[in-house]
Symmetry: C2
Subunit: 597 residues, 2 copies
């Protein structure tokens, strides 16, 4: 079964929940009219379904491989597909027209990124990392660096990487040891070993632009002594042509649980005299710039979670329709398709409702990003930036954690066949497992949510969002639809739980830091289910209004209400358990001494 | 890191929660004194740790393979290990001395099974299935069949299999099509294709004794027309020596997500004239007999869940102690082992507490089985049988579902390294995924719990168990320990939620069967967390008593209370969410028409 993009749901979320027409009204977003956007998405859906999705299974079976000491050959078909991807302009959707991009809002790029990742998570990682490199150069690169690299990155002729991790420095970048020595001519020589470098070496592009964290001589210890460098695989001549091979080499790639077609490289810098590097921005501000890439990448990894969950859902639905087994519980003459069984239905609804909720929340976040970047009004920009930044760790952490649950349910729907690799459901379960780890583990996201996003402003942003949730609760109260009443009840308990937890975090941060951080991941998940539930509630309100007005596709709107109802009773209902874990649970977390484990 | 059996916890559960000394007092269980049992478990721990555990990784890397049209060669070392296993008497722990077994209670066999599975899930499947075959022959086999097969199965010279599934007949055995034609001499010729046959072919034993479901001519349709046959790989001569090769052949094995060393065979019966089979018990009662095997096997698969979760936990603890990364939140000069980070601690406690709770519940169930089989008192036997049967679907369904969560957390604790296959954490995540599927999916277990175990007796067994839980709550009330008070609070909400749900099931079964079954899996999980929480609460009471009396290992008892506290606040606290899903959630489950997915 191939991938069919859920365009109807995407357009519903864009228009009804994320406010595409408001984004379209922002300065610089004039091209993103709902009609144009729909046409772009249709085109992207076609490309992803026809060109990229068919390469997903073969990428898993015949992964990229390392050979000849420093070369990586990607899965057959990837190179041609990437060329087509670049030529069609898909790398440039959200990047400035000045460097050849399409200059469309993040709200439009977001569903494109979802589709590409649903089609093929491994393939999509290459553009994802390239987006990050583009972002960093746009923000902090000199005019010369921009002129040298951006156009070719945006056209897909070259690709980009992020080089953070070293064997001793994973989540803790203070431990980075790679070093960069100034050569007196403005360039540096970079030395060190970087691991877990996604698409750190491959054969899909003419050049690879590595963005590398390293320390200059006499830099301060810790994270304040890290600088960011561009280290291209091939040096670039003044005229833009490719010059000498730089001293960065892929010495191996990893044998992984999933996303096997995506080469995860160990890169050795400077073993043959030093890799030529160019400083990005100012010395010792590398972490700050890297965070620009990381925040974009974190949001995109959240989209990967939604994307793989959507694909797993589609596959499970297809199997549940076709697998004939057991009679209908309500009594049927012969065996029926398993989609009639209540528990299969429950699993499918669980998958579907989580995907829809996470999608809605992510697209709403993307719209806030656009308002934060394009609004003419300072206050609007500020409020939207705070809202977006609050949501990034949730989009990343919650969407990726749920993708594992969804992919696991996808295997379960297939029964014994799900455990057989040929079936294909297991690949999503394996692929999804990296998502809550890379670009900052769920704990890292949760710590960000607790520290920078909640405690720092005394819970102000969180409470502003809760006030919006309360307004949705009021709207729900006005409805006489029993599904909306049930949704309101769960949303009200959920938002109360979230409010309690925000107060708990703010009030205890100083007196009991370990106690607060003991509940950081449950807090992130609580925020995810409540804010996801909020979006589903908003969706149900829109659907009810349209149904009453006799507008649009009634079946779609009825399904939206049913899905929102499921989410409320089965997912949002977990809120009180999370609240207990956070508010009462730190004693248990820290109860044992290290030697009692 | 190798496997170290958690003997201290096992003995604590056996002695303090499962009542080993009461089991020892039962007629026929005189050999199972606490001292003897401890010695047996120590010996088993040594064997599993030294002989079986080292074969786990190699079995994953170099799985069993199929060749020469019908042969399977198992991973190097498996054959020798299985010989040693049989010779040491481990296959016979729970089987009658009459046929060469050790005749020990199920309560003693259960930790042995846990250890073997922790050491190597793939390896342990061969004895697990053999146990099932022994059980079926003991219950329904003729004296001749018993005399021919049992001794060699119990000694580990031969192995057994269960042949249920066919391509069109998975969860629904009514669809079985294999047929058995009487030959007039008391034997049958069996024809058909069986799939997913664990250790259906291998090189570890001289003979393989297949127990096969098939239909005799003119048998009724559906499950009432299925008979059970013994079909040995090699026919057995009158003198017990091996005769001709029977017409059952392995035509392929599956390429699976996990448990790769365990060959999963497609068996073809009768393609060359018919496979000679021997009827077990009476015609058309095959399913009934198969359920004997299945109930034993279901309990054992529940133990597999606990076992793989324990192994994943041990590996995660070891990594968390050794991986140095980031400073301590409370402030430390340099980076510390990640076991100091609150969220790592939370994950480890989540893993640990779920394993301990599931272990306690399973061992308590095993003790009930022994009382049900050995007590001299009819009423005691009956009550214990009902208790055991209620727990079997929970032990199977809940322990296996949580094993995925635990193994997934195990990967997460390892960060990026967890996704690299060489690390070994990913193997548990892959291996565990089959457990909620085979021997009856979680939905099948949950339907059993709802239908046969709850609705059939009007909730009587469930309520009798709840009354016991309430007594534990009262004991907790008498304590002045704040941890016990917190545990009591969560146990009380949990047991109330479970009571509500039992009433909901009993009251709505007739009027709204789909509505009730929509909540069957959440009900199973609710029962798991409440009854697991009950056992942890009992454990905390014992630990507190011992601490006050100054008896035993204080650190162990403090850790037990801390772990019980964690379970209460973080796992048992999910009860109210499950209650909502079940009582209010069926509308959402069935909201969509088939064509709306």
């Amino acid at each position: 079964m191939s991938y069919v993009a859920p365009l109807k749901d995407m357009m519903f979320v864009l228009n009804e929940l994320a406010g595409l027409s408001q984004v379209n009204a922002l300065p610089g977003c004039e091209d993103a009219s709902p009609e144009t956007v729909e046409a772009v998405l249709e085109e992207n859906a076609k490309f992803c379904g026809e060109v990229i999705a068919p390469l997903n299974v073969i990428g898993d079976k015949e992964p990229s491989y390392w050979h000849d000491g420093n070369k990586v050959t990607t899965t057959k078909g990837f190179k041609e597909a990437f060329k087509a991807f670049g030529e069609a302009g898909w790398q440039g959707v959200q990047h400035p027209t000045e460097f050849g991009g399409q200059g469309l809002p993040k709200l439009v790029a977001t569903p494109c990124i979802e589709m590409l990742n649903s089609a093929n998570l491994s393939f999509a990682l290459c553009p994802l990392l390239t987006d990050g490199a583009i972002e960093a150069l746009l923000t902090a690169g000199s005019d010369e660096l921009k002129a040298t690299y951006l156009e070719n990155l945006i056209s897909g002729k070259w690709t980009g990487t992020m080089n953070l991790t070293e064997p001793q420095a994973g989540s803790d970048l203070a431990l980075v040891r790679s070093r960069a020595e100034p050569q007196g001519d403005g360039t540096f020589k970079v030395f060190g070993t970087k691991i877990f470098i996604t698409y750190g070496e491959h054969d899909m592009a003419e050049n690879i632009v590595h963005l590398v964290l390293a320390r200059t001589p006499n830099a301060p210890e810790g994270v304040k002594g890290i600088s960011l460098f561009v280290v291209p695989k091939f040096l670039v001549n003044k005229d833009g042509s490719l010059g000498e091979r730089n001293d960065v080499h892929c010495v191996s790639i990893e044998h992984k649980l999933g996303i096997k077609a995506s080469p995860t490289a160990v890169l050795q810098f400077g073993d043959h005299g030093g890799a030529i590097g160019y400083l990005v921005g100012e010395e010792n501000r590398g972490l700050e710039y890297m965070f620009i890439m990381m925040n974009a990448a974190r949001f995109a990894v959240g989209m990967q979670g939604i994307a793989v969950a959507e694909r797993a859902y589609q596959k499970a639905v297809a199997y549940a329709r076709e697998r004939i087994q057991s009679r209908d519980l309500a009594g049927s003459a012969g065996p029926v398709a398993i989609i009639h069984q209540p528990d299969v239905r429950r699993m499918l609804m669980s998958m579907r409702s989580q995907v829809e909720a996470a999608r809605a929340l992510a697209y709403v976040a993307a719209a806030a990003y656009d308002a934060a970047h394009h609004s003419a009004d300072d206050a609007v920009r500020k409020a939207n930036q705070a809202f977006y930044e609050f949501l990034v760790p949730i989009v990343k952490g919650w969407s990726t954690e749920l993708s594992i649950d969804v992919a696991s349910n996808g295997v379960q729907v297939h029964g014994g066949m799900g455990f057989i690799e040929e079936t294909g459901a297991a690949q999503y379960y394996r692929d999804a497992r990296i998502l809550p780890i890379y670009e900052g583990t769920t704990a890292i996201q949760a710590n960000d949510l607790v520290g920078r996003k909640t405690a720092r402003d005394g819970g102000a942003t969180a409470k502003a969002i809760l006030a919006q949730v309360r307004r949705t609760e009021e709207e729900l109260s006005a409805s006489d639809n029993p599904d909306l009443a049930a949704i309101r009840a769960q949303l009200a308990s959920g938002s109360k739980a979230l409010e309690d937890v925000v107060n708990f975090v703010v009030n205890n941060m100083k007196s009991d830091i370990k106690g607060v951080f003991s509940g950081s991941v449950p807090y992130l998940k609580l925020a995810g289910v409540v804010l996801g539930g909020w979006q589903m509630a908003r969706a149900a309100l829109v659907a009810e209004r349209k149904l009453k007005a006799g507008e649009g596709d009634a079946k779609f709107h009825q399904a939206k209400i049913g899905t929102a109802r499921f989410f409320a009773d089965h997912i949002l209902s977990q809120a009180s358990g999370y609240r207990t874990s956070i508010v009462d649970g730190s004693a248990g977390v820290m109860a044992l001494a290290e030697d009692q484990f």
